[in-house]
């Protein structure tokens, strides 16, 4: 077992014209499960392949354990990798697939290899598939064999390259749990690459968000969700995405007010709750982006339900999810989403009222850096925008 460290690692292709990874520094603790997440082309796979030794970095150092591995071949790094398309050897049966690495890299006797293959197969519940060829296996079974091939070698680290993206939704959730369970059980340092933020949130001890080859933020899932470092992370993590609107800070009647730029659709009085905004680094005249998570938006049919400030809008679409409903509506030129209780299902075109607590607010400056992130100890606090605690009362913002 080992920690993995990347020190100012870069990777450029085509003689430097394409920078895939830019000055990336990252430390993964021993036994940690780190998820590298980002949109396609963000450099996450390239990063993983550099750790594996399949790509050479154009700059920086990569260390596994206490060794700088830049000049080592993949086979000398003592790592295992699970590929997106599983990369099972088609001409070998499951037994040979799993045992291939042991045969190549260890001096184990055939009997020992056989025993370890059997052990791993029973751990993954694929014992009865050992004599089959990969071609005759289902996607989920192939995935298990690929996992087995990684596990059997007892490596320093597991590298996962979008291993679940070819599976259907149900199987994906099941394998997600399974991988987490096995990783915890074996305690092997793991790096898991995915473009799926939900996978990242549910699986990672920590999440590293990448965009355009640059590390945006690294932290525990809740930290990244609640306190994104910048607008990109805020928008990428969370589904549906955070609602945003561009605004300008103005003084009105002695109060600091955020006013939407594109139209007068939206104003938000920062001082309304009486909380001090003294430490908020916004000057009057600053352009900012205001963000609110869909679950923090409170929607009511009656304006009277709100105690303090609220806005009026028209419902575009209602998407029932069963557990709750998603409501889409326009704010300025943006479409916002609200996650509401399943009982609230207005017709599209209906006029409704919305607000959100001051503490749920995200503010990003013109560069997109987070100025303020939401400060809700308990998401249920959002309910307190309205009267009482049932949610049908009057607002006290």
């Amino acid at each position: 077992m080992a920690q993995i460290a990347l020190n100012h690692v870069s990777k450029a292709f085509n003689n430097g014209s394409i920078v895939a990874v830019n000055d990336l520094s990252l430390e993964i603790e021993d036994e940690e499960f780190l998820v590298l997440v980002g949109p396609s082309g963000c450099g996450k796979s390239t990063t993983l392949r550099m750790i594996a030794g399949l790509e050479d970095p154009t700059g920086g150092d990569i260390s596994i354990g206490t060794t700088r591995v830049n000049n080592l071949e993949p086979r000398e790094r003592d790592i295992a990798m699970v590929f997106q398309n599983y990369a099972l050897y088609p001409h070998m049966n499951v037994r040979e697939n799993i045992g291939f690495g042991l045969r190549l890299s260890t001096d184990l006797s055939d009997a020992d290899i056989e025993e370890r293959v059997e052990d791993v197969a029973s751990l993954l519940e694929i014992g009865e598939l050992l004599d089959k060829k990969p071609k005759s296996l289902s996607g989920g079974q192939q995935q298990r064999v690929a996992l087995g091939r990684a596990i059997v070698r007892d490596p320093e680290a597991f590298l996962f390259d979008e291993p679940l993206s070819n599976l259907d939704a149900k199987l994906r959730k099941q394998m997600r749990t399974e991988i987490s369970r096995i990783q915890e059980q074996l305690g092997v340092t793991s790096i898991y690459v995915t473009h799926d933020q939900e996978e990242a949130m549910t699986m990672g001890d920590r999440i590293a968000v990448m965009n355009d080859g640059t590390l945006q933020q690294i932290g525990e899932p809740n930290e990244v969700y609640n306190h994104p470092a910048n607008q990109f992370v805020a928008g990428f993590i969370g589904s549906p995405s955070m609602n945003t609107v561009e605004a300008e800070a103005v003084r009105r009647d002695g109060q600091t007010v955020l006013e939407s730029v594109t139209s007068d659709a939206f104003t938000y009085d920062l001082d309304a709750t009486g909380d001090t905004n003294a430490d908020l680094p916004i000057e009057v005249g600053d352009r900012v982006t205001v963000g609110v998570r869909p679950e923090d938006v409170v929607l009511r049919a009656e304006a009277a339900a709100f105690e303090g400030q609220h806005h009026t809008t028209t419902v575009d679409v209602v998407e029932p999810l069963g557990s709750d409903n998603l409501l889409y509506f326009d704010v300025g030129s943006r479409t916002w989403t609200a996650r509401v209780s399943p009982g609230f299902e207005p017709e599209s075109g209906t006029s409704v009222h919305f607000s959100f607590p001051r503490k749920a607010l995200y503010i990003f400056d013109e560069e997109g850096t987070t100025v303020e992130s939401r400060n809700l100890a308990d998401p249920a606090e959002a309910r307190q925008v309205t009267h009482g605690d049932g949610g049908d009362g009057v607002v006290n913002t």
Binding site: N7, H8, S25, D61, R68, E73
Partner: protein, 310 residues
Amino acid sequence: MPTDAYVGGEPEETDQSVLDSVPISFEMLLLLPSIATLAVLSIIPLVVMIYLSFHEVNFTPVNEVIFLGFGNYTQMAADGNFWNSWRVTLFYVAGSLGLQLGLGILIAVMLHRVSRGENLLTSIIIMPMMIAPVVVGLLWQFLLDPSFGLYTYMLNQVGLFVDQPILANSTSALVSIIIMDTWQWTPLVVLIILARVKSIPQHLYEAASVDGATGITQFRHVTLPLLKPAIAIALLLRSMDLMRYFAKVFITTGGGPSSSTKVIGLYVYERALRFFNLGYGSATGLVLLIVTILMGLMFVETIMGGAGDE
């Protein structure tokens, strides 16, 4: 800005494989023996050929090589036989390509239409391609023999070529070698087109049917445009081979009567290795090479979208 991260120590000496210590990439190392072989087998002969094309080479009474400068090339420009051979080649190549392409498309489309027997039929039609050109040449000579040939007999029955040896007439001899090549190589065109026809998704035809296109219209507006790349591949492969090989013509007509079937390959062969005029043969051969390479370039560039860097 990223902060510094831990940097581990350099690894202990590991078992470096011999391959790791070579300065060129592993892939290049694997390719090298082939490149070296081909270089020896193509560049050296090419250089020798260019060299020879500027010389007169004699083997008797003594081996000698005399520098001529552009002598061979000026002689070539004025050589009516040389230009005649190109003219014959043009007819031979154009005629064969036209016939083979037309028949090839027709057969491929028909093969695609039948639901049974396709396997057996393809097995049958690939047979001629596997046969040595010498055997094909001799066989057709046998079939067209004026006194006992099967095809002569059949043509005579409908009143054609009675007492007229087919291979002794300029026009019919040229047509004969075209038909002979068509018999042997239309199958290749069929296979190329058939592979493409099979890959046309069925829903395109269904969509065309919904739009009211059927039969010939459907073929013209759906099938044919999609066959273009395959047609181009077939055309260029066949045209290059028609330029390269001349063994069948050599066996059947020997270029006659009176040079009416003397395709350029045969002409160059005769100059260089029958009359042992290696210098002049090399000069004419170089022209043939350049024409063929230009056609090959077209093949790789336009049809295959480049040799495929991606």
